[in-house]
């Protein structure tokens, strides 16, 4: 997209329209911006694109995406083999646990929940990346999301698939997990809908359904393209999955309407999912868990870890699939700003809970805090503080950091380490409880570590397989976003008066944070068909 992203800072002058709103007025590019724009634009800098240019770009994008899908190297196979064997070992550990009993895990009384639940919360958190980038930015009509949506939506789905496994792995009688499915048993007894775990089940079921459809729907046109580009079995599979897509305008309109419903619905679903996950803890009588701030705290934590994971994945995918021209440094610049904002909000929420406990909390809650601050879990706690708060807060202010792939990779990985620790500390805090005779500690055992590790490998494996099976960039959306500019110039799309002229791929925002930046383009007729129909 930002090949001609250059227009973000150059070549805007030829476009009619009012001055951009909300702080995005600028007279000319600074040197730094120009350099960044050039870097992002590569050789394809061209202020106004003809249909011919666009065709070339289309072909180039198709060639890269489908090329990446069709070449399978030895390194790829080795990677698949490696990841597969890690996953297989995790499966073995799970089998061992079923065979021997859940006691092979390190859990005990009073720490009845351990690695599995921490991983569960972690992965459900990761799943919020897709919703945030895809749905929220879609609602806000932020155009720079285009090349990122597919990768983010896939993350959501994979993370949910993995996260959803953990409550089952964690059960004492895993083989009876289906007793929670809302159908009556042979005596006519239904599950207990008053239990937060049932809320969990239904919320995750809804979310996984919504996010897989949210991924599938905009994928259909690309599947149709893939169908036309392949032969044999692959063609038949793609044909089947593309549901008879022919690209008629009726179909486009229908897709647009359906996606609008999904975009609106998936955001409250995502919020409810992590809120309900937090209520597994917040609703209890357990000191250190019982809290009213847990809902929003977990939601923002989920978005935080999800954003970080998205950045990690994008850095790796961009590099390995050679998508530097599509997922540009400007994207990382913006994502970095979002990450910074979310990091601050996360700390605020954390502090709101922490201070409440410290000031007026019960003895037990204070003892848990003491344990975190200077006790046995102090190393974990302070690591979390450093990687989740300090490092992002210091570094992400600098554009040089936000546009450095190495720095972003390291920061995003660290944030997720921190978020994992946060969940771990919360889940294991009942080690300190009201009757001090029953205090205990928790040490993870090898099956737990093996399974937790295996899920990271499984996530990577799903992603690696996905990258060969399906286009990792939403082709039609990117192509469409390229044309919006020309359509507007030719008067095919109305240029609404109070809207900044959107450049392709690079919105006219330079606000302090990307959050406000995104607001600046709210209501923009970002995309032709969409804008017209909304």
């Amino acid at each position: 997209m930002s090949e001609r992203g250059g227009p973000g800072s150059v070549g805007r002058g030829d476009r009619p329209g009012p001055t951009p709103v909300s702080g995005s007025t600028r007279t000319g590019p600074t040197t730094e911006e120009a350099a960044l724009a050039f870097e992002a634009a590569g050789v394809k800098t061209a202020p106004a694109l003809t249909e011919e240019n666009l065709r070339d770009l289309d072909r180039d994008l198709d060639a890269r995406v489908f090329g990446a899908m069709q070449s399978i190297s030895i390194r790829y196979l080795l990677l698949v083999g490696f990841l597969g064997s890690v996953v297989a070992f995790g499966a073995f550990a799970f089998g061992w646990q079923i065979y021997k009993g859940i006691g092979v895990a390190g859990i005990n009384r009073p720490v009845f929940w351990g690695f599995y639940i921490a991983s569960f919360v972690f992965w459900i958190g990761i799943s919020h990346a897709g919703t945030l980038v895809s749905a929220i930015l879609r609602v806000l009509k932020v155009e720079w999301r285009m090349p990122l949506t597919r990768a983010a939506e896939a993350m959501t789905l994979f993370a949910l698939m993995i996260g959803g496994l953990f409550p089952i792995i964690h059960l004492g009688r895993n083989w009876r997990f289906y007793w929670m499915i809302p159908v009556p048993n042979e005596r006519g007894l239904w599950p207990n809908f008053r239990s937060a775990l049932m809320w969990d089940l239904l919320a995750i079921l809804t979310y996984i359904t919504a996010s897989s459809l949210f991924l599938l729907l905009p994928l259909i046109p690309d599947l149709a393209t893939a169908r036309d580009r392949t032969r044999g079995l692959r063609r038949r599979i793609y044909g089947l999955l593309s549901f008879g897509w022919r690209g008629t305008q009726q179909q486009w309109h229908r897709l647009h309407v359906a996606m609008r419903v999904f975009t609106i619905v998936v955001i409250p679903i995502a919020v409810s999912v992590h809120t309900i996950v937090s209520w597994d803890f917040g609703m209890t009588l357990v000191e250190g868990w019982r809290s009213t701030v847990f809902g929003p705290y977990f939601v923002i934590g989920a978005i935080y870890s999800g954003m970080a994971a998205l950045i990690t994945v994008l850095v790796l995918v961009r590099r390995s699939l050679k998508l530097e021209d599509y997922v540009t440094l400007r994207h990382f610049d913006r994502l970095g700003k979002v990450l910074l904002a979310v990091s601050v909000i996360w700390f605020y929420m954390f502090w709101a809970g922490f201070l409440t406990d410290w000031y007026g909390g019960s003895t037990v809650a204070k003892l848990i805090q003491h344990e975190h601050l200077v006790g046995h879990s102090a190393v974990l706690f302070w690591t979390m503080m450093v990687v989740n708060v300090l490092i992002p807060f210091i570094l992400l202010w600098f554009r040089r950091v936000r546009t450095s792939m190495t720095a972003m990779l390291v920061i995003s990985l660290l944030v997720n380490v921190g978020m994992w620790i946060e969940r771990f500390l919360i889940v294991t805090s009942p080690g300190i409880n009201s009757l001090s005779y029953n205090w205990g500690s928790y040490t993870p055992q090898w099956p737990e570590i093996a399974i937790a590790t295996a899920t990271f490998a499984a996530f990577a494996l799903l992603y690696v397989l996905f990258s060969k099976a399906l286009p990792l960039i939403s082709l039609w959306e990117v192509k469409e976003s390229w044309r919006v500019d020309r359509w507007r110039r030719e008067g095919l799309i109305e240029a609404e008066s109070d809207v900044p002229p959107l450049t392709m791929g690079v919105p006219a925002v330079t606000g302090a944070t990307a959050v406000t930046g995104a607001t600046a383009v709210t209501g923009a007729t970002a995309i032709g068909g969409r804008g017209g129909a909304s």
Binding site: G103, R173, D280, V286, L435, Y437
Partner: protein, 227 residues
Amino acid sequence: MVVDLDVCTGCQACAVACLAENNVGIVGEEEAAIGRAQHWIRIERYWDEGEYPEVRAQFLPVMCQQCGKAPCEPVCPVFASVHSEDGLNSQVYNRCIGTRYCAHNCPYKARVFNFFAPQFPSPLEQQLNPDVTVRSVGIMEKCTFCVQRIRRAREQARVEDRPIADGEIMPACVQTCPPGALVFGDAGDPDSQVSRLMASRRGIRLLEAFNTEPSVVYLKREGGLDV
């Protein structure tokens, strides 16, 4: 149930009796060391301030408090933890899938979990109680107030067409307690021994701030034995 802390000597006879009566599995030393002992009733030992030998131990026998507003119950997704008609807090073993959510939500940590299939090292398997289920791996269990004894006494009384006498029902721990620190009876009957004891000014309920309305009343220590 009433527990008189002035009388309790911390002898652990109740715990042993409970193990025998309720077919509680033996987990062994290593497992017990990491907190997986299965005891349905345990003697919590707290040391008073002071330097040896000027210290005193306090004993607190803790079993399931059979709460009126049991926090373990609503959190179970499969209704394995429910209220029975006679006010007991019952655990339905064959419904349990082992989420362990109930155990977390129990402030008394009275619930124990079968991390492995229960073991009964020989010759313990010879004395399994036929009135009590032997539990399987991966499920929650806890004190039942010896519900099998309650049921038996009630049926006996019904057969003989008479009310259950005060003190007729004795859970294994109560029956065993050498100093008679544990008293069991009908708290709904104002003339029963437990009702009279519960009215004592020494009566407290454990962790009352949680508002769980426990059925167990502790008579707090005001002297009694020095141990």
